[in-house]
């Protein structure tokens, strides 16, 4: 218990430092003014979400290979946490886009592919609710997770090649498209803090899932007895 409190405090401090950096240390953008500061929430959330989905993919592979329930627990936990971060991306995106581009939503490659990614993992979680038997649920959802993750680069590729009608945005452009070095430092600090938050959430979610798994096992044993 003490360890989890300590790690929560550390993550909280990190997030505080990142917020301080985003608001007070990073210089104001010459073109966009204050609104650009949402970058320090938006971009690290996207990176963290992708990291979580990657963890889920690895856990899915390990489950299919090793068949230990803990990989199933890790898989679903990481998918849920990744979905939470991707939701943050999808919400902060329009908030940023409206004052800068003048529209809430544009069907630009990044937005569209992030949205499809989000839908894929919603389907993954939905699938899990529709299979009762734990082993079968674990195996089938892991297999779907693998298919979904393999689809991700194809979704990004297809949308980037053909649907790219929007001019390359100023800040979300290619790396090195003119971010101040100080901005970069704050950006990476934010990402680091977000990764800390992700680890924290992942641990808690994993513990919850493992308890659920234990309860399911006990229930089945009771029913069999």
């Amino acid at each position: 218990m003490k360890k989890s409190v300590l790690s929560a405090v550390v993550v909280l401090l990190l997030l505080g430092a990142a917020a301080y950096g985003s608001f007070f240390i990073a210089p104001t953008d010459a073109k966009q003014g204050l609104i650009y500061r949402i970058l320090f929430l938006h971009v690290p959330s996207a990176w963290t979400g992708l990291t979580a989905f990657f963890i889920s993919f690895v856990a899915n592979l390990l489950y299919v290979w090793r068949r230990q329930p803990r990989w199933d627990w890790l898989g679903v936990s990481a998918a849920e946490v990744g979905l939470a971060f991707t939701t943050v991306v999808l919400i902060t995106g329009p908030i940023w886009a409206h004052p800068v581009w003048g529209i809430w939503w544009t069907w630009s490659p990044r937005l569209t592919s992030t949205f499809v990614l989000w839908l894929l993992y919603v389907s993954y979680l939905l699938l899990r609710t529709l299979i009762e038997e734990p082993d079968r649920r674990a195996l089938l959802s892991a297999l779907f997770g693998i298919f979904a993750f393999i689809d991700v680069p194809l979704v990004f590729g297809s949308i980037r090649w053909w649907r790219d009608q929007h001019p390359t945005p100023v800040v979300m452009g290619e790396p090195g498209s003119g971010l101040d070095p100080l901005m970069y430092r704050v950006l990476f600090l934010s990402w680091f803090a977000m990764l800390g938050l992700m680890t924290l959430l992942l641990r808690q979610r994993y513990r919850l899932e493992s308890m659920r798994g234990d309860i399911e096992t006990i229930q089945r044993e009771l029913e069999a007895a």
Binding site: V64, V116, L119, L120, S123, L126, L127, L130, I131, E132, R136, L139, L140, L143, F144, I146, F147, A148, I150, D151, L154, V155, G157, S158, I159, W161, W162, R163
Partner: protein
């Protein structure tokens, strides 16, 4: 070699089952026809407008039809309790998938080719000059849809609410197919048609990637 001969036998079974009743083909054809007619109300299908939107709505209709057509693929085996027998009869479970996905590709392609003239007439889009290229796009696209769809129908057949679940799992996964096929088809429908090799290559990459994954994971999909 055993894989190929097993696949051939199973493919024969799939085709016989379908051509005895022709249930899948007729329902899917009528479904696509309905969608094509309904789509015409959402915009004014003059020749210029159809060239802009036609390819997209045609592929959307195909995708919706596929998500219905692939439904019984494994469900039928499950309800008639033939899945275990199937598994016992082949040395490599990939043969089951291979036979089913070849059959599904064939059924989809047949439906698409039957409806292409109807679409061309109703939406004022000339297709004869580029027909052979259109067939190639239809083939590569349908193959991708069938590979992913056959794999996912093995998953959805084992869940509750399976009829609703398959489209939910399948349609987002098929986004790359929809985008690439639409673009290639639109280029062929255009005023000065051309072949978009990039798109054809992309479809081939999708097919190979998913086929390889299915080959690696197939046996787990059919585990009991």
């Amino acid at each position: 070699m055993a894989l190929l001969s097993n696949t051939a036998v199973l493919l024969g079974k799939e085709l016989r089952t379908e051509f005895r009743s022709r249930e899948l083909l007729t329902t899917t054809t009528v479904f696509v026809l309905i969608v094509i007619v309904l789509f015409s109300f959402s915009f004014d299908p003059t020749s210029a407008e159809s060239r802009r939107f036609g390819a997209g709505l045609l592929w959307l209709a195909f995708l919706f039809a596929a998500s219905l057509m692939l439904q019984p693929c494994f469900l039928r085996e499950q309800t008639s309790d033939t899945l275990s027998a199937l598994r016992l009869s082949v040395s490599d479970p990939f043969a089951i998938f291979l036979a089913k996905l070849v059959a599904n590709t064939l059924f989809l392609l047949l439906t698409e080719l039957m409806l292409l003239p109807v679409f061309a007439v109703m939406y004022n889009v000339p297709v004869l000059a580029t027909l052979h290229w259109l067939i190639l796009v239809f083939f590569l696209g349908s193959l991708g849809v069938s590979i992913a769809g056959t794999a996912l129908s093995a998953i959805s057949a084992q869940a509750r609410m399976r009829e609703l679940l398959l489209p939910l799992l399948l349609l987002p996964l098929l986004t790359p197919i929809l985008v690439a096929s639409t673009e290639v088809t639109a280029a062929l429908f255009g005023g000065s048609p051309y072949v978009q090799w990039k798109g054809l290559g992309f479809l081939a990459v999708f097919d190979v990637a998913f086929l390889t994954t299915l080959w690696l994971l197939g046996e787990y999909l059919l585990e009991e």
